[in-house]
Structures are given as C-alpha cells and as structure tokens.
C-alpha cells in the first residue's frame, strides 16, 4: 500500500441509470490499487455492493431520481482501512437500529446488507448535505514470500 491515502471521488447527477457506474468503478479501483493479495477480489466486490446500496438510496430517496440534483461518492483507502462516503442534498433520514428484514418483505434490505458488509456505519446530516459514512478494516498487504 502506498504511504499516503488513495482517494477516489465521483459526482454524478441523481439519475438511477448512472448507478452501475459507481459500484463498478469502486470495484475496479480497489482491485487495481490493492493489486496483490488473494482476498482483494472479494473485498472489491463487497464494496461495490455496499456502495451501490448507499448510492441507490441517495439517488432515489435523497434526490428523488432527479438529474438536476447530484450525488457524491468518496472512497479513501488507507493502509489498513477504507472509508466509503455517499452524500446527497436530500432532507436525510433517521438511522435507527438496522434489523434483518423478513424474507417476504419487498423493500428495506439495503441498509441491512450494508451493515453486514461493513465494520461500522454512521449518518451525518448538516445544513449542506446528508452523508452516509461506512468503514471497513482491511488486512494489511501480505508480504511477498
């Protein structure tokens, strides 16, 4: 891993057709940045999923799927951890206990999936934006043997 953090930021209009771009880019970015270590593929896939969930919430709930609004995502890769942030200018919501959804339920699995994939999540609301922040510890780079 490099000495300084590696940061990826993407700003897109609040248009659900652009959703797949975000997750796929984050997956590729993680794969290419941490390009050694056998469990990187799994980590990159999981972060694609967590980011896709948070971003579709930001686009659909935060921006009401309105392309004149925008969503910002940010990935910061440190030596031993990563942080994903998804921000929108919507009115935000109240992050309460996230419980396992009933199998027959048709909605409400997004936050639960995120919680399973990340080590911790927080939600920050200010005047300017609503920001969903997700943390994950990552195994330090395996030394070449």
């Amino acid at each position: 891993m490099p000495e300084k953090p590696v940061i990826l930021e993407i700003v897109i209009p609040g248009d659900i057709k652009l959703l797949s771009l975000l997750g796929d880019l984050v997956e590729i970015f993680i794969q290419k940045t941490l390009n050694n270590g056998s469990n990187i593929e799994d980590l990159a896939f999981q972060m694609n999923l967590a980011l896709t969930e948070a971003s579709s919430n930001a686009i659909l709930h935060g921006c009401k799927n309105n392309p004149d609004r925008s969503v910002k995502i940010r990935l910061e890769l440190q030596n031993d951890s990563l942080t994903l942030e998804v921000s929108d200018n919507g009115s935000g919501f109240n992050l309460k206990d996230i419980n396992a959804p009933e199998p027959y339920q048709e909605k409400g699995r997004g936050l639960y999936i995120i919680k399973q994939l990340m080590d911790s999540v927080e939600y920050k609301i200010s005047d300017k934006e609503s920001k969903f922040v997700m943390h994950k510890k990552i195994a330090p780079k395996a030394k070449a043997s």
Partner: protein, 109 residues
C-alpha cells in the same frame, strides 16, 4: 437487458444477458419476467449474472409471490457463489426455489 425465452422438453426457460441486476434495471427485469408468469412453471437462467443488489432481490421476492398467486413455480438456476452468499445473508434462500442448473430444475416437477 435482453430477456430471452425458449422451451426445452416442454419446460419454459428464460435467460437474461445482464451481468448486473440493481436499482437501475430491476424494474425492467421485473416487468420483463412478469409477462411469462401465466400458466406454466418458469426457470430463470442467471448464468450471466455477477452482481445483484437489494432492488434485484426485491424483484425476485415480488416475482416469487406472483408465481405463488398463480400456482406456478419460479425456479432460479446458475446463481454464482457470490450471489448465493447474498441470498443467504438476507435469508432469501429459505423462500426462493434455487437449483444448481437447468437440468436439476427440470427434473424436479
């Protein structure tokens, strides 16, 4: 998304070309599959699928319930190990009808 339907040994099989099923294309997937839910059991072949999010899962739950209401069975086949993981985490393996491949789904009548 291309949704392609054909019959094999009198069994209706539907396959989709998408590698991703997420909030961006789940509505299209839902509507596309819905039109095949009428008289007969359906097998959906997911061999191309590499990624599913909660909107994709919601579409599967919805379609499963529609199939039940119509007294037919919706069988899902060729799900990748990563997608199986997500179905396990969310408890959906308990309700959806999942088979390793088209052959085993056809045999179970």
């Amino acid at each position: 998304m291309k949704i392609n339907s054909y019959f094999e040994d009198q069994v209706q099989i539907v396959d989709i070309d998408s590698v991703r099923l997420d909030a961006g294309n789940a509505p299209e997937f839902k509507d596309g599959i819905l039109q095949f839910i009428n008289g007969e059991d359906i097998i959906i072949d997911f061999r191309n699928l590499e990624f599913i999010d909660s909107s994709g899962l919601s579409a599967l739950v919805y379609l499963h319930k529609q199939a039940q209401n119509n007294n037919i069975r919706l069988k899902l086949v060729n799900l990748s190990p990563r997608i199986m993981d997500i179905l396990k985490t969310t408890g959906l393996v308990q309700i959806l009808q999942i088979y390793p491949d088209v052959e085993s789904a056809k045999k179970d009548i």
